[in-house]
């Protein structure tokens, strides 16, 4: 069983999924593939995390799902972003960027400053 290379911060996976789905409606397999490709194999999402997350996002009304024919012709469950989901994604991305800025600021701070 392939373990994710990096332990994702809680909540990060949700954001990444929303981001991927924002590119266009896609099914679970495609979402997993794209997450891997975009992150250059950095994120390998285990199905045991992906599908619970997809269903959770759907339950919260951030994603909506629809069964339709996939590129191979077979029916698949396609997830797409709802308006609520788009707002949520914006909020999460903004939050994430603030967090990154803060961490970055903290890491770039001169080391001496931490001395009393």
């Amino acid at each position: 069983m392939a373990e994710p290379k990096t332990e994702l911060l809680r909540g990060t996976l949700d954001m990444l999924i929303l981001k991927v789905v924002a590119l266009g409606p896609s099914h679970g397999y495609a979402i997993a593939q794209r997450l891997r490709q975009i992150s250059k194999d950095f994120f390998q999402i285990h199905q045991g995390s992906l599908y619970p997350a997809l269903h959770r996002l759907e339950d919260r009304g951030w994603l909506q799902a629809e069964w339709k024919a996939s590129e191979t012709g077979r029916e698949a469950k396609f997830y797409s972003l709802t308006k609520k989901g788009r707002r949520q994604m914006g909020a999460e991305v903004a939050e994430w960027e603030r967090l990154c800025d803060a961490v970055g600021l903290f890491l770039r701070a001169p080391e001496k400053e931490s001395q009393p």
């Binding site: 069983m1 392939a2 809680r10 099914h27 679970g28 397999y29 997993a32 285990h46 199905q47 045991g48 995390s49 599908y51 619970p52 997350a53 269903h55 959770r56 339950d59 919260r60 069964w67 996939s70 191979t72 077979r74 029916e75 698949a76 469950k77």
Partner: protein, 878 residues
């Protein structure tokens, strides 16, 4: 785990999830194949990567519930999965609930039907039983002039009615001849009860006068059985003992006679004199039932009737008036009269029910505490990933409800079986009026209280899981933290309480079992094995004189004696444990004549010469009867040992003379002394008894006792046929074996004992489950600690001692409280005991030993498991 999913059928969402995951897997395989991997290998690799489909689905389902507060059905499914995971716990808890609720409901239904349910008459709270106590006769009897006096002169009753002592009659002319129960009632009797015949009418006021018309009312069952529910029955006639009675009506199907020992098939008018006449040559003893006027209390009614009774004294002829010295009148609710003397037994059972219900509640509470404490970590995790406290409570509530629902369903089944069992094993003395079925309010009460307990204690962890000790819980899996001392103390205390309650029940049933064993070991005074009994009553219309009756029975005896397998046969006018007996005043020769009406009384019965031999009653002195004793001038009697000892103390009893009956009656010579026989009951000492040779003199009712070589039941129909061969219109009744009669006579104590023993067994099982659960939990929680101990060199015996010590404390506390409680409570059982004191050291000791052994066994298995722990595994164990 599949059964429950199948039970819920695959939902739409479930199918969709299957399809979605399958799609993912297939695409993965297809991509590998496209990249040049062999199909076989591609499938293997994809599967490996994907992991188990089932576990992926499980995770989807599990993560969903935190966010779906609205989906109760899904919560139920989750609850089912969680209960299934803990299947051992679930089975035990369901069993505890079922036993607690089911058994208590069944017993309570019966108790309630017998004791608490209002009588099936109109406005039953105003129905009264009136009686007077004659110190001289040492008995409660009402002579008919008193009834007439009360009924016509009272100021406190709407109406007063009476019925007679009841009788039996030979019903002929409607199919096979049969003996049926009859009772005579006054014309207003049904009006007082508020009962109307469904066909025809009740008796008219002029029908219960002396020389009134022969009329009859039929019970519904007789009307259906013997008259094929003939809708034109009113106006036809019924033949009883050779007399014709015009049928005036049929009683309702649900009518019960207000006397639990009666079930008359036919009611006749009680033809009493209209005027109060205390000088009449013969009197009837009557039973009096009245309906109080609205607003009148039972005490007021008693004062009223007492005044009237004292007024009658002036009308009573001088020689008899002293008989009424110290007369008392009682007026009590009819309900109390009917259920009164079973009250103690029923209340004891009721207390037992409450104790079992309490034990069941304590047990379920305990099991829930044990189980949920083990889930502490799981709930902490759920709280950590965002489930609110309300959400956790909802989930635990639903789990508790699911558990309670399963327990409740099992309890329903058990209660239905229990009621059926009790209905058939209920002794005649407790048989109530009206049908017994599961008592709904009681069932609801028992369900409510135990299920409430289950749910309440199931919630316990929710209040801690969402609290700040979350970190602790996550860190060490709760192995030390959740087994906190206070919690463990509470569980231990609950188990101790269970043991106390179980101890009380075991003591109660132990005492009843001991007294029942003593009772059934009482020698009846005769040999009951291989004896058949059969009774008949020769109607006076047909068999008018002694010679006819005697001739009939000697013919029957001759026939029966020649049957194969019959050793001997005899006639008697009284059977052991029978309903019929006679008594007479007596005087021993040489003693002064007592004032009239104060002679001592003795039970007497007539027997044919072979009686003592057939019954195997030992002849202690003198001889048995011989045919010549039947000669008109012979006057031989045989007395029992008790009579000889009490009334013939001076010297040898043989050839003493006694006179039975009035001063004009002849003196009889004592020709033999026989052993005492328990005629009335095994529970009371045998009374003095005088035997006379059977000559048909005093009683048209007599019984045959037949000693056989083998099982007498095989001969029953042959013996019955002998009666028919002599007189086809002559029915017989009470065909049974002596062993059966003996058995029936101790039916009530056996019933009490059985019920209490069932309760005690349930209590023991529940208490054992309780202590097993708690000790197992102790071991599970302390696995880590035990591992350390073993690693540090503790021997298995040390571990055993550690674990057993846990149980021992609970047992000791429970037993101490139990002994103390039993010393206080068992005195209330005294009325039900026979030759065993309420504080019986042997019972206390054996119950204590039993309880200790069972409890130690329950602790031993988890303790043994603890000693086998591998220290390495145990240390790694979370």
């Amino acid at each position: 785990m599949n059964w429950i999913r199948r039970a819920f059928r695959k939902s739409q969402g479930e199918k969709s999830l299957d399809k979605e995951l399958q799609f993912h897997l297939d695409r993965q395989i297809a991509d590998y194949v496209a990249a040049g991997v062999q199909p076989e290998e591609a499938r293997r690799r994809a599967r490996l990567e994907f992991g188990s489909l089932d576990s992926a689905k499980e995770e989807v389902r599990d993560t969903q519930w935190e966010t779906r507060p609205e989906n109760v059905f899904r919560d139920f499914r989750y609850a089912a999965r969680s209960l299934r995971k803990d299947s051992r716990f679930t089975i035990v808890a369901v069993l505890a609930l079922a036993l607690g609720i089911g058994a208590t409901t069944a017993i309570f239904s019966v108790v309630n039907a017998a004791l608490a349910r209002p009588l099936p008459y109109q406005d039953p709270s105003r129905l009264a039983w009136a009686d007077e106590f004659m110190p001289h006769m040492n008995d409660w009897v009402v002579p008919n002039p008193e009834y007439t006096n009360w009924s016509t002169n009272n100021h406190t009753f709407e109406a007063i009615a009476a019925y007679d002592g009841g009788g039996q009659a030979n019903l002929t002319g409607a199919g096979e001849a049969e003996r049926i129960e009859t009772t005579a009632i006054t014309a207003n009797f049904l009006t007082v009860l508020g009962i109307l015949p469904v066909r025809g009418r009740a008796f008219l006021p002029d029908e219960d006068r002396p020389a009134g018309p022969p009329v009859a009312l039929l019970a519904d069952s007789l009307w259906r059985r013997k008259f094929h529910a003939d809708s034109g029955i009113v106006g036809k006639s019924i033949e009883l003992d050779g007399r014709f009675y015009a049928i005036v009506g049929v009683l309702p199907a649900n009518f019960h006679f207000p006397d639990k020992l009666r079930d008359p098939q036919c009611l006749l008018p009680f033809q009493l004199p209209v005027k109060v006449d205390w000088g009449a040559r013969s009197m009837h003893l009557v039973r009096v039932v009245g309906r109080l006027a609205p607003g009148v209390s039972f005490d007021q009614a008693r004062a009223d009737l007492t005044t009237l009774a004292l007024q009658s004294n002036s009308a009573i002829p001088a020689p008899f008036v002293h008989m009424r010295d110290g007369l008392q009148v009682q007026v009590i609710p009819l309900h109390q009269k009917i259920v009164g003397d079973v009250r103690t037994a029923l209340l004891v059972l009721l207390v037992a029910v409450v104790l079992v219900l309490l034990i069941a509640c304590v047990n379920v509470a305990n099991l829930q505490l044990v189980r949920t404490a083990g889930r502490h970590k799981e709930l902490a995790v759920r709280a950590a990933i965002g489930a609110s406290r309300a959400r956790l409570i909802q989930q635990l509530l639903i789990e508790g409800t699911a558990l309670a629902a399963m327990g409740g369903a099992a309890a329903l089944v058990l209660a239905a079986i229990g009621v059926r069992f009790l209905r058939i094993s209920l002794p005649a003395t407790i048989t109530q009026m009206g049908a017994i079925s599961i008592d709904r309010p009681v069932l609801l009460f028992a369900l409510a209280i135990t299920c409430f307990t289950a749910i309440l204690f199931g919630l316990a962890p929710a209040f801690r899981a969402s609290k700040p000790d979350l970190n602790d819980a996550l860190k060490d899996g709760g192995s030390f933290a959740s087994g906190s001392y206070a919690q463990h103390g509470l569980r231990g205390a609950l188990v101790a309480v269970e043991f106390t309650l179980a101890f009380l029940l075991l003591i109660g049933s132990g005492l009843l079992i001991r007294s029942f064993v003593r009772l059934s070991n009482v020698a009846p005074g005769f040999e009951p094995g291989n004896v058949l009994t059969v009774s008949t009553e020769l109607p006076t219309a047909k068999y008018s004189g002694n010679p006819q009756r005697q001739a009939f029975f000697s013919q029957v005896l001759d026939h029966v004696r020649t049957l194969p397998g019959v050793r001997s046969a005899a006639v008697t006018t009284r059977l052991p444990f029978g309903r019929f007996w006679g008594s007479a005043s007596f005087l021993v020769e040489g003693q002064p004549e007592p004032p009239r009406g104060t002679s001592p009384m003795v039970l007497n019965q007539e027997v044919s010469p072979d009686y003592f031999q057939t019954m195997r009653i030992p002849i202690l002195a003198g001889r048995s009867f011989i045919p010549s004793d039947l000669a008109p001038d012979s006057h031989a009697v045989i007395v029992s040992a008790a009579f000889a000892q009490r009334s013939l103390p001076s010297g040898a009893p043989l050839s003493k003379r006694v006179r039975l009956g009035a001063p004009t009656d002849p003196w009889s010579v004592v020709v033999g002394v026989v052993g005492d026989v328990h005629y009335a009951s095994l529970g009371v000492p045998p009374e003095p008894q005088v035997y006379l040779p059977y000559d048909g003199e005093n009683s048209s009712l007599a019984s045959l006792v037949v000693r056989t070589q083998q099982d007498p039941r095989g001969l029953a129909s042959l013996v019955r046929a002998q009666f028919g061969a002599i007189d086809p219109a002559q029915p017989v009744f009470d065909i049974t074996t002596m062993a059966q009669r003996l058995d029936d006579s101790i039916e009530t104590p056996r019933f009490n004992m059985t019920l209490l023993a069932i309760f005690a067994a349930i209590a023991l099982v529940l208490a054992t489950i309780g202590i097993y659960g708690v000790v197992s939990y102790f071991v599970a929680q302390r696995t880590h600690e035990i591992g350390i101990r073993v690693a540090l060199g503790a021997a298995p015996s040390d571990i055993l001692r550690l674990v057993l010590g846990q149980g021992a404390v609970m047992i000791a506390v429970g037993l101490a409280l139990g002994v103390a409680g039993s010393l206080v409570l068992t005195r209330y059982l005294a009325e039900l005991l026979y030759s065993v004191g309420p504080v019986d050291p042997l019972t206390i000791l054996s119950v204590a030993v039993l309880l200790i052994l069972v409890a130690l066994a329950a602790c031993y298995f988890p303790a043994k498991r603890a000693t086998r722990l591998d220290p390495m595994t145990a240390l790694r164990y979370e």
